[in-house]
Symmetry: C2
């Protein structure tokens, strides 16, 4: 009896994943016990593009899903230099002191050319990262925004299954990624610099509309007046937006990294926000909404996997690419052919 070489390769890959500790069966029990190393490996697994890893990642997510959805999912955004790390570090200590377990995911708009990562440039949140009950993970966005969304959503699920009850999703900048992040968090916190001018400039309007809370940072060292002025401006601006589905009225406060008491603001907001949306049933509605988006992203991700693993489609895809390069086929026609290949694949999964 001869050995099917394809099956053999699959076995070999699975053995390798097992020996590396990168299987769902190995990771899940450790993850549930809150093992940080297992959580880190699990995230490495879901970020992997290796087909065997992907299979294990899928199995792991399926195991984790019933244990997810119970954390406060909080998005934190603001332009570089606004003081996100300082804020997260300060409030992180506070939350840990209160007995919470905190996971911080930093979405990192890595350079798509050199693959360089800006968050890797500096050591961040050093004192926070030393503590127990905290897990900090930068997520490189890689090439696609879809990839960010998929991995971040999956990472949230893993963290929740690992017992983290507060999840921060930090984004840098004011780009499209905030919209994606907004779709996966419950509370969206915007950090703004006062006195940087252009407080109400266009780019931030869309982001501002999403905000459940705005913190004006660095309201110290002679910047107090500007901060107060910014606060009034934002409060007025927030009135112009349509009411939120959550029924929550967005809050604005000034915050200083020197006066630690100001941290009470976001802590109070979160407490009353989650009380309110839990009672009103909005949170479970929001969770369902997040599930629907997860469905979309999982579908895209499984489709790519299917296309990569189905030999006929993979070959057809490569073939269409060379036809485009040779000018024998327009990109439009090629897309049509590819779609035909997929819809006639007869489910050769």
């Amino acid at each position: 009896m001869s050995i099917n070489p394809e099956k053999y390769n699959e076995w070999a890959a699975q053995r390798k994943a097992y020996s590396e500790g990168l299987t769902a069966a190995q990771l899940f029990p450790k993850l549930r016990m809150g093992d940080r190393g297992a959580l880190a490996s699990a995230i490495t697994l879901i970020e992997s593009t290796n087909p065997t890893h992907r299979t294990e990642a899928n199995a792991l997510i399926t195991l984790c899903l019933p244990h997810s959805g119970n954390a406060w999912r909080i998005g934190i955004t603001g332009v570089p230099g606004v003081g996100k790390s300082t804020f997260i570090e300060a409030i992180g200590h506070e939350l840990l002191n209160q007995g919470h377990r905190l996971a911080v995911m930093a979405i990192d708009p890595s350079s798509s050319i050199s693959g360089g990562s800006i968050l890797g440039d500096k050591t961040r949140m050093e004192s926070l990262s030393m503590r127990e009950d905290v897990f900090i993970r930068p997520t490189a966005t890689g090439k696609t925004l879809g990839g960010v969304a998929q991995h971040t959503r999956e990472t949230i699920i893993l963290c929740e299954a690992a017992g983290y009850d507060i999840i921060f999703v930090e984004t840098v900048g004011v780009g499209q990624s905030e919209t994606v992040v907004h779709s996966m968090v419950d509370f969206f916190l915007l950090l703004m610099l006062s006195g940087a001018g252009d407080e109400l400039q266009g780019i931030k309007r869309g982001i501002m509309e999403m905000a459940d809370g705005i913190l004006i940072t660095k309201a110290d060292q002679g910047n107090e007046e500007a901060a107060k002025h910014a606060k009034r401006t934002y409060q007025n601006a927030l009135h112009l937006f349509t009411a939120k589905d959550s029924g929550w009225i967005p809050k604005v406060a000034c915050i200083s990294s020197i006066e630690k008491t100001a941290l009470n603001h976001p802590l109070t907001w979160w407490k009353s926000y989650f009380d309110q949306v839990t009672q009103s049933g909005y949170l479970s509605h929001k969770r369902k909404d997040q599930d629907l988006r997860f469905f979309e992203e999982s579908f895209q991700q499984q489709l790519s996997q299917f296309m990569a693993n189905n030999e006929q489609i993979h070959k057809g895809y490569k073939d269409l690419q060379s036809q485009i390069l040779d000018g024998r086929c327009s990109p439009y026609e090629a897309a049509d052919h590819l779609l035909h290949l997929i819809t006639t694949a007869h489910g050769n999964l």
Copy 2:
């Protein structure tokens, strides 16, 4: 003989598209003659989600494709307030005076909640928009970044078929959309404010790496020294990046909206850039690369259309959504089912 109601609806929709002038056959000849109204209608057509419009849009793109690819595709980006509109207005007049025909596409990160559009907030490029031979169009990004990419790429093709030989794609902010835009333009121009501090801050690194040219704006009114300093800083920073595939060495210059002579810089850059990349063959290589990306985006777009129009898949999709909402199915399993539906659709196109 009874009338098939489905066919009847299709006919009715086609008649309506025809009466509105929104068919490929009506628009294409006008477009080729450079009719701006037809171009505007064509863009409306490709932005429409109506299935009949989509069919006509596909036909129109197919007609236009052979007449596209000959323009200078220039991406222009910078944070709000950096002076993009002022710059485009000034250089736009100059290009028109030189006999060029200019299309300006502004990618507008509209608020995904209210649907509000920031570019609509203010009247922009007023004097430029009064001139002949210029076409200015804001593209709302809507919900998906994929949508931006698809529509912008299609709009470039339409503009080129309509005889515009210079295409500006303007983006606001420093988000993920720049990466997408970078993939569809030939020359990527970055506008930077001097003296705004944080010149080399993280977020801009990825964007800076993409830049073929950096203009430091508002180098006037006492800001000259800061601008010169910024120029040196950028020039040094650019040396740190890996050489570009195009062989082009990125340029840096200061620009003042008062001294119009500074406009010579980007004009000279573009001239020598396009000379260089045309001779080296890089431009045709780049066009092929752009075609491959267009292939990917067209595929995604045709897949969505297929899923919306195939009754069985559409029903299955809706069904899976309600199963997720009822908690009868995990988003992950649902994605798997949906993929199965599509791959077993037997090409019921």
